[in-house]
């Protein structure tokens, strides 16, 4: 058994660490979007009259499971890069949710959403570029 009384690890700010962190947060946003859609689908079958129905509600279970993985990846990313750089990147989740809603849930594309996701992508690109310096 190794000890859990760890001394805080000093922040590594190597370039490869930063890149790894960006990659991890990027995966986070994809998983987060999948989780949101699964939960949305699962919730349409969920009713408070039968709360234990959640136990056999696969989309709901899968959605929350992905949220767990998602948080784990975020934590691993936070080991290697700044919080203020990584956290706003999570907004990419809006982009994937919007695109997946168009593709899978057949929501009608709309101009405001398209302008919004394009602007988010540009913002995230600028933040990410700052992190590579």
């Amino acid at each position: 058994m190794s000890s859990t009384a760890a001394s805080p690890v000093t922040q590594t700010t190597t370039l490869s660490g930063q890149r790894r962190a960006l990659g991890l947060v990027f995966s986070c946003t994809v998983l987060g979007a999948a989780a949101q859609l699964l939960i949305k689908v699962g919730m349409t079958r969920f009713s408070m009259d039968h709360p234990f129905g959640a136990l056999t509600n696969l989309p709901l279970i899968a959605g929350y499971f992905l949220y767990g993985i998602n948080t784990l990846l975020l934590v691993l990313a936070l080991r290697e890069a700044e919080l203020s750089m990584l956290y706003p990147i999570i907004a990419l989740t809006y982009v994937w949710v919007t695109l997946l809603s168009y593709g899978l849930l057949h929501e009608r594309p709309n101009l405001y959403k398209n302008i919004g996701i394009a602007t988010i992508v540009i913002g995230v690109a600028i933040i990410g570029r700052g992190g590579r310096k």
């Binding site: 190794s2 000890s3 859990t4 760890a6 805080p8 690890v9 922040q11 948080t71 975020l74 934590v75 691993l76 936070l78 080991r79 700044e82 919080l83 203020s84 750089m85 956290y87 706003p88 999570i90 907004a91 809006y94 919007t98 709309n110 101009l111 405001y112 959403k113 398209n114 302008i115 919004g116 996701i117 394009a118 602007t119 988010i120 992508v121 540009i122 913002g123 995230v124 690109a125 600028i126 933040i127 990410g128 570029r129 700052g130 992190g131």
Partner: protein, 117 residues
């Protein structure tokens, strides 16, 4: 503004603040990880996860019956709080890329909210 909207806005505002502290504790907890899997159970990480869950409860209640074009941008206020806490607690700098990038993200989320209402 209707009382329902104000109620929703307060809930979403609470979600953004609670969530931003969740992120701060996850960052603190991340620094305490070592090779042992048990190190994932450190107090900061557990608190961070609890705050994240709490935040999603407030968020879920908040967006249930409110106008998303108002509420979505408020959720992303959480990014602004986080930037401020990161500076205070971890001495991270405000760089031009972070500020400009975040401003664009906020504008983008505002538009996604407009399209969702």
């Amino acid at each position: 503004m209707s009382p329902v909207l104000i109620h929703s806005m307060l809930l979403v505002m609470a979600a953004s603040v609670v969530g931003s502290f969740g992120a701060v504790f996850l960052k603190m907890g991340a620094a305490r990880l070592n090779k042992s899997l048990l190190s994932f159970l450190n107090r900061q990480l557990v608190l961070g996860v609890v705050l994240f869950l709490g935040s999603s409860v407030f968020y879920g209640l908040g967006i249930k019956n409110g106008d998303l074009s108002v509420l979505y941008p408020m959720v992303s206020l959480g990014y602004v709080w986080t930037l401020i806490w990161a500076r205070i607690f971890f001495k991270e700098r405000f760089t031009r890329e972070k500020v400009v990038g975040l401003a664009l993200v906020l504008v983008g989320v505002f538009f996604v909210g407009m399209g969702s209402s």
